[in-house]
Symmetry: C2
Subunit: 472 residues, 2 copies
């Protein structure tokens, strides 16, 4: 909470009206109400719902999920902080007007059928905005999945599952992409402070949210999936200003004419020239993710691990030659420098490794590496002044004691100020993965993704160094 | 089996000696013997081991895993087709010589401590080859994980798990990478006909195996993880010749000086200039994978799906706008053309979709798509002459009936000659994934990987078209 913003009203309401609530299990209006009341399916959190008052609005039904319904928000005598609208597009204008008459200032419109669906929809959206302006209503949507505010146990979406709470604020211009990220979040412990599906962003947009999350103390990384921007200059300035306070990761899709054409038909806006976006994102201090995996991995790393300091190089510690080579190649492709080990570091590692260790970076400590050998080498590398961050690769070879090695990684990571990313290569080990995830160490199945995660921390470190030097 | 090659002796033996077998559960010599006898852990196959005779060789123990042991292969009266050696490096020369004296022609040497580990090891390896030459022994290894021949239930490795049987022959220059691929194979139903860890490839190498697998009727795709090549010209010619018969996917690592230095220390050979490799792989007709995921995804697609014919464009069918845009962007990056839908195709799709469908490719059939709508649209697209292959994206939105849609994908894929790849975006649905995998439809969690898989099929189709036009 920033205490300053109109967005506080959306994320910290005391009471919510669900306009279009339904007792039909197959309807979005049912799923939204259920998610608000019970929090939504989650494996990692208690199933707790929103603690404030909830009012279902439905023209025909008398009771839904044990709550009395109302035919209109105007019938409700309590104050309503947020209304969520899930009625068909043709009825949205009317119920929005009723929200205005009731004095509701914050409305989330899930209903589709607006600017994304042709001329008639566009003029619907224009009318909607004129009603909102008349009554001073702020809108998230329409054509969106909804919002989540983790500290309030508020799951105001129709997603099937709920992400764990955590430090990532996620903004998505695509509802379906948002759904996918929420499912991923649950699986990979991608903890979210907020989730906002901005849909057609007829009113509240990415820039508003960037400014808000930049000030939020529970948010350590802001991640965006973006297809188009309404006001390029404002977006650039919002990113630039927010990047000084929080790392930002942007997956900007629609780089091609095919992609751009697809966008035009699904969220009602046109993709800008990709080159301009690319330059704007880089110059603002944000990181541009090129793939969904990079969006996931960079966000997790930036939210949970410290940045690489002073442009120092990275050490790769591995029990597997091939994956170490792949990681070194990939670091090169990213421009991520590998540390050149000093004589002293090589001497120390030699004292705890068999003579066949690689004697250089990548530090191949050989396939028969025990937990003890990993622990000793990692401690040496963590203390080496030439090393700015550590990528740990562990492949389950003949007799690798993976669980003990993983436990040591966690102890190490908590005791040092250098970032750690991990690849348990090819290891079908959901338990070990989950332990690392929950302890804030990004872990992936292929070495390339551990490099990508570390690269995000390197770029963030370099950005902060420059920022400090420039005296801002 | 080719019936022609020295390699038949390795993959189709009647009897095997395990030199260095052990009853100590912590030793590689125990794991190898156990894997030969019982086949190794697998979730998808019956646990069946090698049907021929197995002879453990050990100096001290009398019986291992219920089998009588021998102090030397020379004590065994039966004929031995293959010996696998897991004794320490210093004893390898002696036992290899005994193999020669016993008349064993095929030896797999798992033991490390040869050319990969410095000068002394290199001269060991030279001596080893001179003994082999003297007795006419062929060697796989040393410093390797072993071999698998699926049709014979022969798992002659020390890997923890066993891949399912299938059409992919996998060659790995890194044992650890090989282990990772085997674990992945089990998880993702990456079915293997053969697996060969070539280690230091002192004798049998990638070129020998390419030539062998090109003639093997059970192999539909040859996949290699490669770090260096001994004889560049021969390797190029082997690839070029094999590519005419089978698709080949190569992950060539060590593109950088850091990667190359790491390689030198772990398999005893030097990486060549990356540019030369790149050109050679492309010109030969093989596909160069850039990441481990691409190696996995391209191999699965090429092994299980038909190539894209006549350079036709691809259709993307999705219930999710954002992931469709990401897929379109990614196709562009790969140079994979999207089909331009004809008026006729658009008319047909319009007749079975709500008016808000995208009316172009990517074909966004909207978030509320039912199994019926997917089925109808997929049938139209499959029959459209302008479409050469279909990427199906399915995101679990509010009420998506994922299982029924997946079942329809399988029916469709079996009834058409166009390739299909799938992304169940963000769906935590191991069951549906497994069903698709087992039916030969490559499925991934992010759209980018479904595009990568289709791109491999497009490139293979284009290669075959050119091959046919050039009249061989």
């Amino acid at each position: 909470m920033s205490g300053l913003s109109i967005l506080d009203n959306f994320f910290y309401p005391q009471s919510i009206a669900v306009i279009g609530a339904s007792s039909n299990l197959q309807k979005v209006g049912h799923v939204v109400l259920k998610n608000i009341l019970f929090g939504g399916t989650s494996t990692s959190d208690k199933k707790e719902g929103f603690k404030g008052k909830v009012f279902p609005v439905n023209l025909r039904e008398k009771e839904i999920l044990g709550l009395k319904t109302y035919k209109s928000v105007k019938e409700i005598s309590d104050r309503i902080d947020v209304a969520v609208i899930v009625v068909p597009a043709k009825d949205v204008l009317k119920v929005t007007e009723e929200c205005g008459q009731k004095g509701i200032g914050s409305v989330v419109i899930i209903s589709a059928g607006f600017a994304e669906s042709g001329k008639a929809g566009s003029s619907f959206q224009t009318e909607l905005l004129s009603i909102a302006k008349q009554y001073g209503i702020r809108i998230i949507g329409p054509n969106c999945l909804g919002i989540i505010s983790s500290s309030e146990n508020l799951n105001l979406t129709f997603a099937r599952v709920k992400p764990p709470a955590g430090p990532i604020a996620f903004i998505s211009q695509s509802g379906a992409l948002g759904t996918a990220v929420i499912e991923y979040a649950l699986e990979e412990y991608f903890g979210m402070s907020y989730f906002v599906s901005i849909g057609n962003k007829s009113d509240i947009d990415d820039s508003d949210l960037l400014e808000y999350f930049a000030e939020d103390s529970g948010t350590k990384c802001i991640s965006l999936y973006l297809e188009s921007v309404r006001d390029g200059r404002r977006f650039f300035n919002s990113m630039k200003s927010a990047a000084k306070k929080k790392p930002i990761v942007v997956l900007k899709a629609g780089i091609t004419s095919a992609g751009a054409k697809a966008i035009a038909s699904h969220t009602g806006s046109l993709a800008g020239a990709d080159v301009a976006y690319d330059a704007a994102i880089r110059q603002s201090g944000a990181l541009r993710a090129r793939t969904m995996y990079e969006l996931f991995d960079a966000s997790r790393a930036l939210a949970y691990q410290p940045p690489v300091k002073d442009g120092h190089g990275i050490a790769i510690v591995t029990n597997a030659g091939g994956p170490g080579v792949i990681a070194a190649d990939d670091a090169y492709k990213h421009g991520l420098p590998l540390a050149t080990l000093t004589e002293q570091t090589i001497k120390l590692i030699t004292s705890v490794c068999p003579p066949t260790w690689s004697r250089q970076n990548p530090i191949d400590i050989i396939g028969d590496a025990t937990p003890q050998r990993y622990r000793r080498v990692l401690n040496i590398v963590a203390s080496a002044p030439e090393v700015g961050g550590i990528i740990i690769i562990c492949s389950r070879q003949a007799l690798t004691q993976i669980r003990e090695i993983v436990d040591d990684m966690i102890i190490l990571s908590k005791s040092i100020k250098k970032p750690v990313t991990v690849s348990l290569v090819g290891i079908v080990a959901q338990e070990e993965d989950r332990i690392l995830d929950k302890n804030g160490i990004p872990v992936t199945e292929v070495p390339e993704r551990a490099v990508e995660a570390m690269n995000a921390l390197f770029l963030r470190g370099r950005y902060l160094d420059r920022l400090n030097k420039s005296g801002y």
